[in-house]
């Protein structure tokens, strides 16, 4: 095997391990770390490419933090690089969660932990409200989107519909609506 690729992949692993260790609060929190480690320190990728990569991986299944690591790894050192970066970014949380999972249920019986978790549950509810609010502001821009969001909400809340089924139907409806829209505007050239 190409030793240069192997060396690069090892480096990718350690860089993304560090990134994985310090990424609190989801995918976008990673961007500054990636900029620092990948663009400035190692000059593996241009800064504009990082933004493009984040735009692309958002529309793919999976977690943004992991997807962007895979993508950057692939760009830098092919399949081996993608594997090294992905493993690197996942491993820190695996280790931390393993420690918590192995000791968690003992810890759950300590005094005050139950009371703390009553508080945490209310806090998580507030956090989730904020997520829904922020996502709605950025992604719900027309009547079609409002109807879809409400239907999905009701399907799950009232009828207990399977989430995957709701997503499949929504994807098909989105495709159908945008195709109809494009056909209607055929005379006007669209980019």
């Amino acid at each position: 095997m190409d030793t240069k690729l192997l060396k690069k992949s090892l480096k990718l692993f350690t860089v993304f391990f560090r990134i994985g260790m310090f990424t609190f609060g989801g995918g976008y929190a990673m961007i500054p770390y990636i900029e620092h480690e990948i663009v400035e320190k190692n000059k593996w990728i241009e800064s504009e490419d990082i933004i493009d990569i984040f735009a692309v991986v958002q529309s793919l299944p999976g977690v943004i933090a992991v997807n962007s690591s895979t993508f950057v790894g692939y760009r830098v050192a092919g399949l081996l690089g993608a594997f090294a970066a992905t493993l690197g970014v996942i491993l820190p949380s695996y280790i931390i969660i393993a420690i918590i999972a192995l000791f968690f249920y003992n810890f759950r019986n300590y005094p005050f932990v139950n009371e703390a978790f009553y508080g945490i549950q209310a806090g998580v509810a507030a956090l989730m409200c904020n997520v829904v609010y922020k996502l709605s502001k950025s992604s719900i821009k027309n009547g079609f989107a409002i109807v879809l969001a409400l239907s999905a909400f009701l399907a799950l809340t009232i009828f207990g519909a399977p989430a995957i089924g709701v997503l499949l139907i929504a994807g098909v409806l989105g495709l159908a609506a945008s195709t109809l829209y494009n056909v209607k505007n055929k005379e006007e050239p669209t980019k």
Partner: protein, 189 residues
């Protein structure tokens, strides 16, 4: 079915249908995991809280946590690999062939339907989580909507909303503050 294979497959399914970040996964996790009795809704909320306080995405953390609880450290590996494998394959293929993937009109069309639906699903999970948080002795129906609610939880929820929307405090810090308030309110009020 072998438990390791089952963990891998269930989390691969969850990974494949998680579009739009970790929170989009909460409705899926809740359905798939609670149906199998792998975790209760309280357990799911615990993992959300743990994920906010530890590095790493919720999707990975919950797979690791549930995998380890069901089948030890190797179960954690199976579930984590499961949740990561579908997107790994897809991202590599996209990185290889479609640099302009996001601009493709078919992808755009599908996404225009998926994005709002995901928000509706997350809203539904939010409601479930709030209901669970506000009625700590359990939901007793619409007739007891106001009498069964725990006002201490509502107070922490309201403070949390102000903290995160107005004061923009970090989610991890907010979870720590909520825990402290929980100890104070539920021990002494």
């Amino acid at each position: 079915m072998n438990i390791l294979l089952e963990l891998f497959l269930v989390f691969a399914k969850i990974g494949l249908f998680t579009i739009g970040g970790g929170y989009a996964m909460i409705p899926l996790i809740t359905q798939e995991i609670t149906q199998r009795n792998w975790l209760t809704l309280e357990g799911v909320i615990d993992i959300i809280a743990i994920s906010e306080m530890t590095p790493g995405p919720f999707a990975i953390n919950s797979a690791t946590f549930i995998g380890i609880q069901q089948a030890g450290l190797i179960g954690g590996v199976a579930a984590t690999m499961g949740v990561a494998t579908p997107s790994f394959i897809i991202v590599v293929v996209v990185a290889r062939y479609f640099t302009r993937f996001k601009d493709h009109h078919i992808v755009q069309g599908i996404l225009s339907g998926l994005r709002p639906a995901v928000i509706g699903l997350i809203a539904s999970s939010t409601l479930m989580i709030a209901q669970n948080a506000f009625y700590i002795t359990g939901w007793e129906g619409w007739a007891k909507l106001l009498s069964a609610v725990d006002w201490r939880s509502i107070a922490i929820f309201a403070l949390g909303l102000v903290g995160i929307i107005k004061l923009k405090i970090h989610p991890a810090l907010m979870i720590i503050i909520s825990a402290a308030l929980g100890i104070i309110f539920f021990t002494w009020l």
